[in-house]
Symmetry: C2
Subunit: 343 residues, 2 copies
């Protein structure tokens, strides 16, 4: 077999504000690979199937000198994120041809690794689409599951406000909250997303671009739980309409990622006035505690249709840069997935 | 005995910005009382000895229509706060002449009450000055004790940053943190206050008006615990220099009380980036859990000199308005006490 193109999405430049496809990241086709003769040196060759696009990737697009919880992307190298690949060849004792591996993959069609320790082999006994394992049964689903179970202290009859409720994290949280018997107020950024969230059972769903968040919270609050994916002004309003002993779960703040000098939060005094708590978390630091329970429960719930999800799948690595921008701007319609290749 | 003047400090007007003595509150001497003949109607007559001035009083100086954790002051009525009084006459079965009662008292030299349920009779077996029971052994001490024990999760060798560290809450927290074996960074607003806090054993003490908080935190942080009495810009810096899994205890935000539309906090994304928690609390909602332990432990610690304190005592109810302003501006030198009368 002769060499074939091995496309990659390279990190090119730290963006100011929103990332720009073709500038922040570039689609590169200069590399080629011979799948039959590529040396494995005791490792394994992987064909990338699906890659996830998540909001947090924006934080990795920074100067390498700036510290943060997640390592920065290296300029000129492929960007990386959670994905699923299938093993084409292996000289590794723990990895077989045909294994489906889950972990942080490069945005690259084919790659060789020698260390298997950061990958999990997914059995997928439920026969779910592989994309589910980077969505509801992947990092976003884990994030929802861990955050809700660890920090919500949800009690039946309470009220939760969930932002970015059509996204993979938010939509899972909405469903967890309804399973726990809460009244759910949920916000999303388009009428289509609002419809989807309503179909999940949320009690009050609104398009925050059309309806005033404050008016909705004034009418439908106070809040016992706030699931924050947005930060900024919405967080300020949630503080204002929080009940005593409210729990705020700080999962993300997408309104601040592309505008770090923007909105400053002024209602923080509510935290002591109302005996409140705020918990921030990074899923990877907590998931160990829930891993077994999560994989026993969640793929089954998805298979049985008890947890619904929505995906926005784009075929082709060349669309990764646009996918990243879509997620930052919220124009995606469900969990953003780059389908790199079929099996 | 003929009637004597019964002075009061009346709430007169909701302030914009800082409270103004003589305008926000007024000293009133129009009322008189005959201590021998004032009808008790089954109640008891109290002579006010000491009254506390605390930062939170600013929050009670608001329009009656605005809800908050603590009831607003009523216009034309005496302001109220924690104090100690001695009982002069009593027709109440549970209250004896000579009892010293602790509770929320009116800023008024003499008053009659029929309901004793909101007062505690203080035995004061240690023979401490009565002012201690509105300071280290009163609400401020309780606040420090409850907040530290409930939320700090302090571990030996960790670093805590404590603001308004010369005040009655902050200075107690500094000492609790040192008893737990922590490195203590502490800030105060004058060189005299800095000296006092240093004498309590704090490792790094600085005058935030002379030295840059950011430079100190950059040099001496990261922070595992932040005790917040100030909010605003200092809170933003504490977020920036927090360690992973840092605990922020939100006790007060004096920089915001007189300027609610001021500084907006921008570094809140650190909460999830660093797996942090923030806990706000109102002492009165948590103290029940610690009451017994507190009164067994704290007066003894004070008596033995193991907990140090500093008081700024002004004699005469006519100085209450100025005392309130001093505490808002931080020009007091220790726990602010109005000494209304000797025994």
């Amino acid at each position: 077999m002769s060499p074939i193109t091995n496309s990659r999405t390279l990190f090119n430049e730290v963006p100011i504000g929103y990332p720009e496809p073709g500038r922040t990241t570039i689609h590169d086709t200069s590399m080629s690979i011979d799948l039959e003769t590529e040396p494995l040196k005791g490792g394994f060759l992987v064909k990338t199937l699906v890659l996830s696009i998540d909001p947090y990737l924006r934080g990795k697009m920074r100067e390498a000198t700036k510290a943060s919880y997640s390592a920065p992307f290296a300029k000129g190298e492929p960007i990386t994120n959670f994905g699923i690949g299938v093993v084409l060849r292996s000289e590794h004792s723990g990895i077989k041809v045909g294994d489906h591996i889950y972990g942080v993959l490069p945005f690259q069609e084919y790659f060789v690794r020698s260390d298997a320790s950061s990958f999990a082999v997914i059995a997928n006994e439920e026969g779910l689409p592989w994309s589910v394992y980077i969505g509801m049964a992947g990092m976003p689903g884990q994030t929802a599951y861990v955050g809700w179970n660890e920090f919500s202290k949800a009690k039946k009859g309470e009220t939760a406000f969930i932002t970015t409720a059509a996204g993979p994290v938010g939509s899972f949280v909405v469903q967890l909250a309804k399973l726990d018997g809460l009244k759910v107020i949920a916000s999303a950024g388009s009428d289509e997303k609002v419809e989807f969230v309503r179909s999940l059972g949320a009690d009050v769903v609104f398009n925050y671009k059309k309806e005033s968040t404050e008016e909705v919270l004034q009418r439908e609050g106070g809040l016992d739980i706030y699931w924050d994916n947005v930060g900024g002004e919405t967080l300020d309003l949630a503080l204002k309409y929080a009940n005593k002993r409210a729990r705020f779960i700080e999962c993300g703040m997408i309104t601040t990622y592309n505008n770090p000098d923007g909105y400053g939060v002024k209602n923080l005094a509510e935290i002591f006035k109302k005996d409140m708590s705020m918990h921030g978390f990074i899923n990877g630091n907590w998931f160990g505690k829930y891993r077994e329970q999560f994989y026993q429960e969640v793929p089954k719930l998805v298979k049985e249709g008890k947890i619904q999800y929505q995906e926005d799948i784009t075929r082709g690595l060349e669309h990764a840069g646009q996918g990243i921008l879509d997620v930052q701007q919220g124009t995606n319609k469900g969990k953003k997935v780059i389908l790199v290749a079929d099996e």
